[in-house]
Amino acid sequence: MHDIYNFVSGPLVWVSFIIFFGGILYRLISMAVLAKKKDVIVYEYMSLQYGLRSILHWIIPFGTVKWQKNPIFTIVTFTFHICLIFIPIFLFAHIILWKESWDISWWYISDIAADVLTIVVIASCIFFLVRRIVLPDVKYLTSISDYVILGIVAAPFITGFWTYHQWPGFRIMGIIHILSGEIMLAAIPFTRLSHMIFFPFTRGYMGSEFGAVRHAKDW
């Protein structure tokens, strides 16, 4: 048990963060190179003003027609994403590990707040899952990989919650938690989760084309 713990909480953390940041860099560079080779127009169309304008609309809840049409989906998607990014960064248990190894620390939320927000994330994942199973048009567009990705995202939250509450088998669960967190980080650049990296570009490009070329709104 100690060997496994030392391994997943030491070298594997390095590996996952290197894959995460290295992967983001790699994906960005290869996209830029590809766009230059295949479609130089992209660079000419890209407009900071129209791009940012579109991104701004899309990151504001109900800032677009799509968001307005699906109020429940919109609310869930926004709270889900805010909690998803907020919790791991401001969780005391995570920060104290940074403090122990690097002597750095920052503001943290209480364990009770973290617990509540974790439930919100898990509930959102269940919502996304049910939505994919129940709505015919969404189901039609869903492949196995969508479920796998949803599982990868939900796993650190379920296992972290389990470990925190010291439910049976929490030692193993703690190790699975760390592993699942690492898998999620490593998966971000190379799966559909890369929408985190590409969102500003796809949205920015759409905004530029619609704004500067077609003189229309894309929200």
Binding site: H2, Y5, F92, K99, E100, D111, F170, G174
Partner: protein, 128 residues
């Protein structure tokens, strides 16, 4: 009274007595680390059977934990068991617990990781 009845009484009394002594001892021995600097606790207290722990873990020097520093160097033959850790390792700005929690965790957990024995996960020390 018959001899046998007396024997039975004595045996029972001895049993009850030794049970009381054993349970009394173990009750006294159960203790937790309660640094007075932590005002509102976020986690359950850490169980730490001081003497028993240091015996089974084969720690001979008190100053492995209760250390004293002189001019930036650990003083080899001095110790500070009459002080709480927080008397030297204060809370940051008098309220942020990060640094104090860190020195406890570094001291306890790092040895367990090196020796591959003893608790390393939050819930193993902060037992509900």
């Amino acid at each position: 009274m018959e001899k046998r009845t007396v024997m039975v009484y004595i045996v029972i009394t001895l049993l009850v007595f030794s049970f009381a002594v054993i349970s009394g001892f173990s009750q006294e021995d159960v203790s937790t680390i309660q640094d007075s600097a932590f005002k509102e606790k976020m986690r359950p207290p850490v169980r730490f059977l001081h003497d028993e722990h240091n015996e089974t873990a084969l720690i001979e020097e008190c100053n492995t934990c209760h250390h004293v520093y002189e001019e930036g160097e650990k003083a080899e033959d001095e110790s500070s068991e009459d002080m709480e850790c927080s008397e030297c390792h204060a809370l940051d700005d008098g309220k942020n617990p990060m640094s104090l929690v860190k020195i406890y965790h570094v001291r306890c957990k790092r040895c367990h990781q090196e020796k591959k024995a003893g608790p390393v996960m939050c819930g193993e020390c902060h037992v509900k």
